[in-house]
């Protein structure tokens, strides 16, 4: 792994340290929920197995694809603005926002169907975890979308360039983290409960 500090690319190291430190806090925040999962899956393996079958695996997979693609568009957007391609950045941001909205849309569909079948956070420990984990994750998606919308406004005002794109890169890192959490949530909840 090379370490490089390209002059016109990349945010200053303090910004990168700052966002990674923030992601560390998010890791521990979600980590507590993963711990709850580990504990109760160990204690109630049958409950988890039985209940997880009530989740729609294909919708979960579709959501995974949407988020992975949104990470791609974000990464492309950052690479673009590092080369001063403002238009590509804007398209990338819009795409990311659309994919994120799609993710939330599917989540909404899933949740409303669960509610209509009487599956609530208090129904059992598995669904308590399912709603808490996807709920917290969803909140992070919403927050990410708000920040990206703001980035789009700034990009429209021409505020980003090859020399200055720190907020975009920092937001990108946050967004990839949101994707990372889902990369684990999906199998743990949908595939191996």
């Amino acid at each position: 792994m090379k370490s490089e500090q390209p002059k016109h690319e990349g945010a200053p190291v303090s910004a990168r340290l700052g966002i990674w430190a923030f992601l560390a806090t998010e890791l521990l925040l979600f980590g507590a929920l993963f711990t709850v999962y580990a504990v109760y899956r160990t204690v109630y393996p049958d409950l988890f197995h039985q209940e997880h079958l009530k989740l729609n695996r294909l919708l979960g997979a579709l959501n995974t694809i949407l988020l992975l693609t949104s990470s791609l568009s974000m990464a492309v957007g950052i690479a673009a603005i590092r080369r001063g391609r403002q238009q590509v950045l804007k398209i990338a941001l819009v795409l990311t926002l659309l994919l994120a909205a799609g993710f939330l849309g599917i989540k909404y569909l899933e949740w409303s169907e669960d509610f209509s079948h009487g599956l609530l956070p208090k129904s059992n420990l598995f669904f308590g975890l399912y709603f808490m984990m996807t709920g917290l994750h969803g909140l992070h998606v919403i927050f990410g979308m708000l920040v990206m919308a703001w980035l789009l406004v700034c990009a429209n005002r021409g505020q980003f360039s090859a020399d200055y794109n720190t907020p975009v890169e920092v937001t990108g890192l946050y967004w990839h983290f949101v994707d990372l959490v889902w990369i684990y949530l999906f199998p743990l909840l949908y595939l191996v409960g």
């Binding site: 700052g18 430190a21 806090t25 890791l27 521990l28 925040l29 507590a32 109760y40 609530l120 308590g128």
Partner: protein
């Protein structure tokens, strides 16, 4: 400048010159932000202290008196929650840390000044929400154990939200400090030329960033339990109250090191300055701070030995707990070795630093009884535990805070404190503290449980002693605060370097200008070369 002119303008020089609400509410200046944290946290110190005095009044008699049991439960809950979350955790890091980290490393501000301001706003909003919960005050104990906290018909939800915000504020502050220390040290300030306060604050910030999110999530889960009926901690739903305890203590144990490490950092500055001797074992003290932070993450189960946790886990946690005493002991030996053959000057910062060492040793040693499985069964959740944590948190952190306040008061305010008043406050506090808390070790060994509004009559005599002690302690604290306030207005002007210290804050005026340094210094030496030519670490 004449003495009179200095006296009248002293408070408004340097960073304090600009006036008006907006200059404080929207400041990016780490010094102003530090002062605001200082005032807020010390306000809660006084409120929490008042609650303690009331508690001890109730405990004068073994039977029902003065207040209902429910009221007593509320009192000790609010005393604990306020003191821990609104005072002792943020007190040194957010106030003295904010003010002095940039100064000690030769920077103009922290890495993210705006984030610093937002952290303060979060803190203040969190305080408001927390105080609002007093409308229906909680009675669960500051540890909020389930299942009671999930069911108690008091404002647990509001308090959880308030403390979540306070915790988020501390996370962002810790993050800010980490990046600041990594990226903003003055030219020439290698890691081994950093003041030990900075090493301590660095270790503290690591804990803040990594541990606090867990209690954040714990509060969220508790609220989910209350509002959504989620049953992670509810046995009736297949949940386990012990899971709450694991999460709670995963944060709340490391947080005691958030409390003590900054105080230890202050001691590491005060001792060499007032002994006119280089600190003994600089690297050992530096690395021990990191070691304490890391080992602190490994021992949380020692709060749960009698909870029903598995024996295997109990044995592991007890075993690991002994390790944390080692780096702590290293620091104490090194401070004492620094004092040896030093030219000791017993001014107020120093007498507080020495007090810290003495009282913290007692607190720390009694931790061994608690960390050791077999003896813990006898003393846990008794007054022995109460005495232990007051000796470490108050005898340790708070006395270290007092040392820091007396040390840095001239720099922050441009005024000198009155040493006579400081001394009187000191002996009242130390006497009052020991008379209050030492009997509790005995009470605990004799079997008096904590958090009981009423107790068997045989425990009354020592309880009376402790209550009288609390009055002496309160008086001493009052005198100390009066000294602070009077000196702000009437204290003699402080020179740049009243203590002849060698760290960078003493090279700038008291109080400092907004931009801290006219020119960022280039550092060529470590800050402990009292009468000495060499520095360690040169062989690196």
């Amino acid at each position: 400048m004449s003495e009179e002119m200095v006296q009248s303008s002293g408070l408004r020089r340097g960073y304090l010159e600009e006036r008006g609400f907006r200059s404080w509410a929207f400041t990016h200046d780490h010094k102003r932000i530090g002062i605001m944290y200082l005032i807020a946290t010390h306000l809660f110190f006084l409120v929490g202290g008042l609650l303690a005095v009331l508690l001890r009044l109730k405990l004068l008699t073994p039977g029902p008196a003065l207040m209902s049991s429910h009221a007593y439960n509320v009192l000790f809950t609010m005393h604990g929650a306020m003191m821990i979350f609104l005072f002792i955790i943020p007190a040194i890091p957010s106030s003295l840390g904010n003010f002095f980290i940039p100064l000690l490393i030769g920077a103009r501000d922290v890495a993210f000044p705006r984030l610093n301001l937002y952290s303060l706003w979060l803190f203040l909003i969190g305080i408001v929400v927390t105080v609002a919960s007093l409308l229906n005050p909680i009675d669960t104990g500051w540890t909020f154990y389930t299942p009671y906290s999930a069911k108690s018909a008091t404002a647990v939800t509001a308090l959880s939200l308030g403390l979540f915000l306070v915790g988020l504020s501390s996370i962002l502050t810790g993050l800010n400090f980490l990046v600041t220390i990594h990226t903003m040290r003055a030219h020439g300030m290698t890691w081994y030329r950093m003041p030990l306060f900075i090493w301590g604050m660095y270790a503290t910030s690591v804990i803040q960033v990594l541990a606090t999110p867990v209690i954040g999530m714990t509060f969220v889960l508790l609220v989910a339990e209350r509002l959504l009926g989620v049953g992670f901690f509810d046995p009736a739903k297949g949940g386990d109250p012990l899971l709450f305890q694991h999460f709670f203590w995963f944060y709340s144990h490391p947080v005691v090191y958030v409390m003590i490490l900054p105080a230890m950092g202050i001691i590491s500055e005060v001792i060499p300055t007032f002994a006119r001797k280089p600190i003994f074992g600089y690297k050992a003290i530096a690395y021990s701070a990191l070691a304490i932070a890391f080992i602190g993450f490994l021992v949380w189960g020692h709060h749960m030995f009698v909870s029903g946790m598995s024996t295997t886990a109990s044995v592991i946690f007890s075993f690991l707990t002994f390790f944390v005493a080692v780096p702590t002991g290293v620091k104490i030996f090194n401070w004492i070795a620094t004092l040896y053959r030093g030219s000791i000057s017993l001014q107020s910062p120093m007498i507080w630093a020495l007090t810290f060492i003495f009282l913290f040793i007692i607190g720390g040693l009694t931790g061994l009884f608690l960390g050791s499985l077999a003896t813990d069964v006898h003393v846990t959740d008794t007054y022995f535990l109460v005495a232990h944590f007051h000796y470490t948190m108050m005898g340790g952190t708070v006395m270290g805070l007092f040392a820091g306040l007396h040390y840095w008061f001239p720099k922050m305010t441009g005024r000198m404190l009155n040493e006579r008043w400081a001394f009187h406050a000191w002996w009242l506090i130390v006497t009052g503290f020991n008379v209050t808390f030492f009997p509790m070790f005995i009470l605990g060994m004799q079997g008096m449980p904590r958090r009981y509004a009423e107790y068997p009559a045989k425990y009354q005599p020592l309880n009376i002693v402790a209550t009288v002690g609390s009055w002496v302690l309160a008086l001493g604290i009052l005198i100390m605060f009066v000294n602070f306030i009077r000196s702000l207005r009437h204290g003699p002007a402080a020179p740049d370097n009243p203590w002849h210290g060698l760290t960078l804050e003493w090279t700038i005026p008291s109080p400092p200008p907004v931009e801290n340094f006219e020119e960022i210094p280039t550092v060529t030496d470590w800050p402990y070369s009292y009468g000495e030519k060499e520095e360690p670490g040169n062989e690196e």
